[in-house]
């Protein structure tokens, strides 16, 4: 890879990183706004126009709070916990393709941070590291509620990871590759995976909710039972990081879902549009860049939709009971996912043999 | 641009060998010197992973899929070992409230 390419890549990565943080920050704002909307109230409206500066105010508050460490806790681990959570959350967006190729000055830039052929595994691997953040934090606090919350979180995460992994297999069987970019490319136009994998998507969606500890799966931090869950003892920016990580995770989960099932940056009549643009502008590069940018926009639109969906659900559904949660994960989703694999496999084979 | 096996081959085989041998020896030393059952166990896992590293390197150098398959099996077996091993450690922990192997001297070593 040439150094120029690398430079572009670095710029792109920083950009995505910034966008990620921005979206995460503003998710908190939207969350409250949407909650307000659903509950028919106003929501934040003091800081700045429409309360738009509210997230900054929140962040500032967190920064200026006391950086407090409980006396009986394990100091190093106590700091490490939120660090890991944040680190992992920000790392996982690296393999998501936010757009197609952008051609600048003759250099072709893939709008994907790291284009590796094991993208799916990468996401999987990095996301499952997130459990450490919770576990380490909860354990380090040396507080029974924290510990219980952390363990709940951990066992919930790993339980749903199984079903998630199984539901992904069906996608892989369809696409035959582990690279997220290739998966995205295969969904050219309107040929989205959701049409072939409705069941798989459903399973994945449920798992994504569980993985991000969102309602209705937010048992680790269910206030009524466990106070703050694993972050009971946390304050200042360390607490902020846990909260932040959660929103980043929502963002990444949405991005992954969009990529896997909803065609990523692809939108209907994309090729036709590009062909028409080439005709109209008589410049293939420009046409390509325009389409790519539209694709990026489409991608973010999809992501926002999912984020909205996440919030919508939060303010709509009640929380599961723990036994229901585990039962759903193990006894319903896993068999369903396996069924899905069998159906997919059978379908593919049937198609290959018959046609 | 070239494929992964070739990429791996850009580093001399000896380096992989030394690296995995070093990992392995660290594991062995850990097993022999540590007293905490869990750490001993982690050292054992380190040994297994040293093996995996070497196998992968060799597989690329030889273009032989057998070694890669072997890695898979080692991983699967290691997982099974983890399950059984942790279960045993937890069982012991519940009885003696410690994972220090030196405390277990009901039987002569």
């Amino acid at each position: 890879m040439e150094s120029v390419d690398l430079l572009y890549k670095a710029i792109y990565i920083i950009a995505i990183f910034g966008i990620t943080l921005l979206i995460a920050t503003y998710s908190t704002y939207f969350e409250r706004k949407i909650a307000a909307f659903i509950q028919d109230r106003v929501g934040p409206n003091r800081a700045g126009p429409l309360g738009l500066l509210q997230p900054l105010a929140d962040a500032g508050k967190l920064f200026f709070k006391e950086d407090f460490i409980p006396s009986k806790s394990s100091k190093a681990l106590f700091i490490l916990g939120p660090g890991i959570a944040m680190l992992v959350a920000t790392m996982s967006s690296a393999v998501v393709p936010f757009g197609d190729n952008l051609i600048i000055g003759g250099h072709e830039i893939n709008l994907i941070a790291i284009d590796v052929n094991i993208g799916v595994l990468y996401v999987f691997g990095v996301v499952s590291l997130g459990v450490y953040g919770l576990m380490v934090g909860g354990w380090a606090s040396n507080n029974k509620f924290s510990l219980l919350g952390a363990i709940r979180a951990a066992s919930q995460n790993i339980s749903y990871e199984l079903a998630m992994g199984l539901s992904l297999i069906a996608i892989l069987m369809l696409s035959g590759t582990l690279s997220l970019r290739e998966i995205a490319e295969q969904q050219q136009g309107f040929n989205w995976n959701i049409w072939y994998q409705p069941l798989g998507f459903l399973i994945f969606l449920v798992c994504a909710f569980a993985e991000t500890n969102r309602t209705p799966f937010d048992l680790p931090e269910s206030e009524a039972e466990l106070i703050g869950g694993y972050h009971t003892e946390y304050g200042s920016m360390k607490l902020g990081m846990y909260l932040f990580a959660e929103y980043i995770n929502i963002f990444v989960a949405s991005a992954v879902m969009a990529t896997l099932y909803f065609g990523a940056y692809n939108f209907p009549f994309m090729l036709e549009l590009e062909a028409w643009l080439v005709n109209a502008t008589e410049d293939a590069v420009t046409a390509n860049n325009i389409v790519t940018l539209i694709g990026v926009a489409v991608m973010f639109a999809k992501i926002f939709l999912f984020i909205f969906f996440f919030m919508w659900v939060r303010w709509t559904l009640p929380r599961f009971r723990y036994d229901q949660l585990m039962k759903l994960g193990w006894q319903i989703l896993i068999p369903l996912a396996i069924l899905n694999i069998l159906l997919t496999g059978g379908g593919i084979l049937l198609k290959d043999y018959l046609f | 641009m070239n494929n992964i096996p070739e990429v791996i081959r850009t580093i001399p085989l000896e380096y992989y060998l030394y690296f995995s041998a070093a990992l392995f020896v660290i594991g062995v030393i850990g097993v022999l010197t540590r007293r905490n059952a869990i750490i001993i166990f982690m050292c054992v896992e380190l040994m297994l992973n040293a093996v995996n590293v070497l196998l992968t390197a060799l597989a690329s150098y030889r273009g032989d899929a057998n070694a890669q398959v072997f890695v898979f099996f080692i991983m699967a077996v290691a997982a099974a070992e983890v399950c059984v091993g942790l279960a045993i450690i937890v069982m012991t922990y519940r009885n003696i409230r410690s994972t220090d192997v030196q405390l277990l001297n009901y039987l002569k070593w």
Binding site: G176, S236, M237 | M75
Partner: protein
């Protein structure tokens, strides 16, 4: 493994380092900043673990329900089995019907274990 159409060199993974550096930088920056900015006032009561306002009793590091532990162990097992399916899934079309049937046998075993676990009541909470 089959060499894929797209080919990769080690430097393809360089961006990971960039991303990691960025993430790490942010984390360290945030933690240091909050440490510097915030006030520092310590007291014994404040330092104690918070247990709904009641004085905390004993150490938190007590063994908890073995159910969680069982879940973890089962996860390790099943996760590895699932990982086994990934290469198969990627090359599914190549293996064709034979591969499919073999995987059905594999999944049969997996399911047998799964149902055993369920029947054994390990996943029963409460």
């Amino acid at each position: 493994m089959e060499p894929t159409v797209n080919q990769y060199v080690p430097s393809d993974y360089l961006p990971i380092i960039i991303q990691f550096a960025a993430a790490l930088g942010f984390v360290i920056f945030a933690l240091v900043m909050t440490h510097l900015l915030g006030p520092k006032r310590k007291s014994e009561v404040k330092g104690a673990a918070w247990e709904s306002g009641i004085e905390s009793v004993g150490d938190a590091r007590t063994p908890i329900s073995y159910k969680y532990f069982m879940t973890a162990i089962l996860f390790v097992l099943f996760d590895v089995e699932i990982i086994f399916m990934y290469p198969w899934a990627v090359n599914f079309r190549e293996f064709g019907l034979d591969g499919f049937l073999q995987m059905v046998v594999f999944m049969g075993m997996l399911l047998a274990g799964f149902f055993y676990v369920i029947k054994k009541g390990i996943l029963k909470w409460e």
